[in-house]
Structure formats: C-alpha cells, structure tokens
C-alpha cells in the first residue's frame, strides 16, 4: 500500500490507460453477473473469465490473488463453519463428533465465498489499475459532488498520517510511563491517554483544514476545471453502453426467473 495513489500499482499497460469509468463499469457488471446468475459456481466462472485475464494483462494478477486471499479467508472460514455445520436439515456428508457437515450448507458457503472473492478481486483490480484521483475526477464529471470526491481522496492520504500521529502520541505517553503491553485490562486502560489527545488534535486539524480549503476557493460556485486530463474514446463509450445493456439484460432475465413461477 506504499503507492502514491492509494492502491494504484504503476504499470504501463493498456488496462491502466483505459478511462476509469470503463474499468468501473466493467468491474460492476462482472460483480452483478456473478451474483445474479444462479448456480454455486457462477461467481467462480465470472472470476476466471472476467477478472483473472484482465488482471493478467494489467500485470497485477499476483497482487490481486495475494490480497484477495488475505481478505477472503476469514469470510470463507466463518461461512463454512456456520453454514456447513449448522444448516438445518439437508444431507449429512460427514459426522464430526456432535456436529454434522451438511452438503447444502457447504454448497451455500462455497457460493458465498465465491461472491466475496469476486467482489474483492474486482475492486482490487480496479484500484490497482486506476489512480483514485482520476477515478474521482471521472465520477465528478458525471455529477458526483466535489465534497464526496474530496472526502474519499483525502481519506486515502490522511489515514496514514493519522496512524503516524497516533504512534507519536503512544510513544510520548509510553515515555511518561504509560503501560501499553500486557493483559487486555492494561491495554484498555492505555487507550484513553491515546485517544483523547488524538481526537482533540484532530478537531483542531479539521478547523484549520476547513480554512485552508476555503482559501483555495473550495466552496466557490460555478464551473470547475481540472489539470488532469482523462482520455476517453468513442470505442470505450460504446463498450460501456454495451456492458450496461448486458447488465440490464441479466437483471431482466433474473427477474423473469423469479417472477415466472409466481405467475404460473
């Protein structure tokens, strides 16, 4: 996460050069299809067809795999335990002492895990190949309020600063003899002298930050311009429309599947 642009991984590939909205729409449509198409394995199929090849071309596949696994494993484990072992009824696959592993629960857990993996890897792919300032600019041009894009972008940069500040305060309190290691009780007690200066300091920071933003004409009405230039092409616009039409078709089809038995 050491990059300058949030999660962005600097690579010179065609995927990196695509317009941010093209990538955003692509990832969202992949997610939608993976979640909506019935079947235990559909998220995995979309993952293999939709996400993996693009990550490979963008040369970020190792990063995507590594961090997807890191994020998805806790979900997968809890899903398998909860759904696999505590599924009511169903076919018993194996008896584990007082618990019984159920086939239906296991399949449900596999599908849930697949959905999470698909969502995480999709967003990682988007963020590894797209500078967040470019993504926010693209969204602003589509009408996203500037204040929201400011919050998203500044959070990306301010959180690491916030962590450093917390560490400074922690060191300062330790040097005054505050115990921060040991039992949970000791650590809980250490929390107050850390949190209070951090919060109070942050309130002052926020006031100054608001002033600095006002000085830079942040609240000025009227058209804004941008130093960043986003390259869009007619081809990419067409692709985006096609993707969105495809997504709508899937939604319509899924709706029909849900509705048909109810009308019959």
């Amino acid at each position: 996460m050491s990059g300058t642009y949030g999660l962005y991984v600097v690579r010179q590939t065609g995927i990196h050069r695509l317009h941010p909205l093209t990538k955003l729409v692509y990832v969202l449509v992949c997610l939608l299809i993976g979640w909506l198409i019935p079947g235990v394995w559909s998220p995995y199929i979309v993952l293999l067809i939709g996400v993996v090849p693009v990550a490979l071309i963008a040369r970020v596949l190792p990063e995507v795999i590594k961090n997807t696994i890191k994020t998805a494993i806790p979900f997968a484990i809890s899903l398998i335990i909860v759904q696999g072992l505590f599924w009511t009824g169903g076919t018993i696959v194996r008896q584990l002492g007082p618990f019984s592993l159920k086939a239906e629960g296991l399949l449900f857990a596999i599908r849930g895990t697949g959905r999470i993996i698909l969502a995480v890897s999709g967003f990682l792919l988007l963020n590894y190949t797209t500078r967040s300032d470019e993504l926010m600019l693209a969204l602003s041009q589509k009408g996203l309020p500037n204040s929201i894009s400011y919050v998203v972008l500044s959070t990306l940069q301010v959180i690491p600063r916030f962590q450093r500040k917390a560490n400074t305060i922690l060191d300062a309190q330790r040097s005054r003899g505050l115990e921060t290691e040991g039992s949970y009780l000791i650590r809980m007690r250490a929390l107050m002298p850390l949190v209070v200066p951090l919060l109070l300091g942050s309130i002052v920071d926020i006031e100054e930050r608001a002033i600095a933003l006002e000085v830079r004409a942040f609240s000025r009405e009227g058209a804004k311009t941008s130093l960043l230039v986003l390259h869009d092409t007619r081809f990419q616009r067409a692709i985006r429309w096609l993707l969105m039409l495809g997504a709508m078709a899937v939604i319509g089809w899924r709706f029909y599947l849900w509705l048909a038995p109810r009308l019959a």
């Binding site: 600063r161 920071d205 100054e208 006002e214 000085v215 830079r216 004409a217 058209a223 804004k224 130093l227």
Partner: protein, 278 residues
C-alpha cells in the same frame, strides 16, 4: 489596498476583545509585518483580513475591514478566495490531501476557480519555479519536508494571484532550515514590489531584513507603526513582550559598556550591525 477603520472584534464567549479599535491603511505593494507577543491579536488580524473573522469564527465585529475595495463583512468566503490569500503555521493542515502530486496540489485552487487548463499550466510552472519547487513537482505533497510543504502552501495560494497575501507566522512550526527556505521565498516576494503582503511574525531579524513597515500589536491595540529600523530598535519593544534582535541587544550592551557612543542609531540587521561595530 487594505483599510481598517476602527475595527474591534471579540470571539464568541470571549470576555475581552481580540482586536480593539484598530485603524490602519496599507497601500498596494507594501510588505507590512505585524509583530506582537502571543495573544496580541496578530492571528485575529490575519483572520479578519481573509474574512474568517467574522465569517468562520462568528463573534462580533465592529468597524470596517476593506481589502481591495471589498467590504469583508458584507462579502463571503467563497467570494474572498482568490482575492485574499491566507497562509498559516501548520504546513500539513494546509495541504488538501486530495491531490497526489505537488503540481496537482498547486492546481487545486485554480481548478476550483475554473481557470482554463492551458493558463493553469503556465501559472503553475511559474510559481513552482518561484517557490523553488520545480524539481519536486511530481512528488507526493506529504513526502515533502516541513519547509517544502510550507513553500508549497505559499505557492498554492500565490498561484491564485490574490490581491493581498496574508501570512500568519508561517515559520513557527518549522526548523531553522525550513524557516530559512520560507523566508527566502518571502524576501523574493518582497523584492518584486508588486505584492501586497501582511506578515505576522515573531522572528524579528527576518522582519527587519525585508519588511517595508512594521505594526506592533499589544492586547488587541495598535501601539506602534513605522519603519523596521525605528520600531525594532525602539526601547519600547520589551514593554510589548518582544525581544529585540541580537544585533540591537549587542549594540546596546556595547553602549552600556561604554564601547560605543550613546545616541547612535541601533542596528536591526546584520549589515547594520557590521556598520555599527566597524
């Protein structure tokens, strides 16, 4: 360019006024330093010139503050941005955090003002050069040193071409190296003779080096107004909680010891000290 007429101001719930019956005129192109002890009203004056008093802090303002022909009280912060530039102590809090390179950070204000892209490019190139940041243009703003960040804050405000630049102790949170970097930029700015600058500052040696005029505030009142050489060498300075420059102190010590005749003009800069002791 700046006109204060009988200005008094109290912060909300404050018992004593932060500014007390202040009247002063600052013509265009003047580099005016404001000195005074902590709590003398320097920051409040800076806030008033930029409109944050009363539009941000609220409180009660009487009298008239006029900058570039605009009545501050009747204006709004959005309208004042670009007319009055404000730089304050903490460099980190002045960086928006919403831009990922020094160049984009400088562009932030221009983008909000809707300046066309081609003009933005020229103005940014010029200002980065001026602030000595040209070599750092592609660096992330938070990776800069304190002095560099403060020069970035100054550049980001200057690029908007404000009629008046207000600096509120811009070096108080910097190390000596960072302070020197910032003062070098300010001295270059003073040398242009075009910018109208109000600088609240505690470091009197730097004030002496390039201010055209010095205002002394004490408990919210304007107690002295004149040329740096006169004000900074004045024996009244200590009454207002200010320490004279080391040059003045050395010269006074020399007079007290009988090494130099009484009545000579006391030095306030290194050059004048060299002359005094020659």
């Amino acid at each position: 360019m700046i006109r204060l007429d009988r200005v008094s101001y109290s912060y909300p719930r404050a018992t004593s006024p932060a500014l007390n019956d202040l009247s002063v005129d600052i013509p265009a192109g003047q580099f005016c330093a404001v000195i005074g002890a902590n709590g003398a009203g320097k920051s409040t004056l800076c806030s008033a010139l930029a409109g944050f008093v009363p539009h941000f802090y609220r409180g009660r303002l009487t009298g008239t503050v006029e900058v570039a022909g605009i009545d501050i009280a009747a204006s709004s912060l959005a309208e004042l941005a670009g007319t009055v530039g404000l730089v304050f102590s903490n460099p980190f809090n002045q960086i928006t955090g919403a831009r990922f390179s020094v160049r984009d950070e400088v562009a932030f204000g221009l983008e909000n003002m809707g300046v066309p892209r081609a003009e933005m490019e020229t103005r940014i190139d010029y200002i980065l050069q001026f602030a000595g940041l040209a070599g750092l243009a592609e660096r992330p703003p938070f990776a800069l040193s304190g002095g560099q960040q403060q020069r970035l804050a100054i550049a980001s405000v200057l690029v908007m071409r404000p009629r008046v630049l207000v600096l509120d102790e811009p070096t108080s949170q910097l190390d000596p190296v960072g302070s020197r970097e910032v003062f070098t930029v300010l001295r270059d700015l003073a040398a242009t003779d075009e910018a109208t600058v109000v600088l609240a500052e505690q470091k009197l040696e730097w004030v002496a080096a390039f201010a055209d005029r010095v205002l002394v505030l004490h408990e919210g009142r304007l107690v002295a107004d004149g040329l740096p050489g006169d004000i900074l060498a004045s024996p009244d300075l200590q009454r207002y909680g200010l320490e004279p420059t080391r040059y003045t102190r050395a010269a006074r010590a020399a007079q007290a010891a009988g090494l130099r005749p009484e009545g000579d003009t006391l030095p306030v800069t290194l050059e004048q000290a060299a002359e005094f002791f020659a």
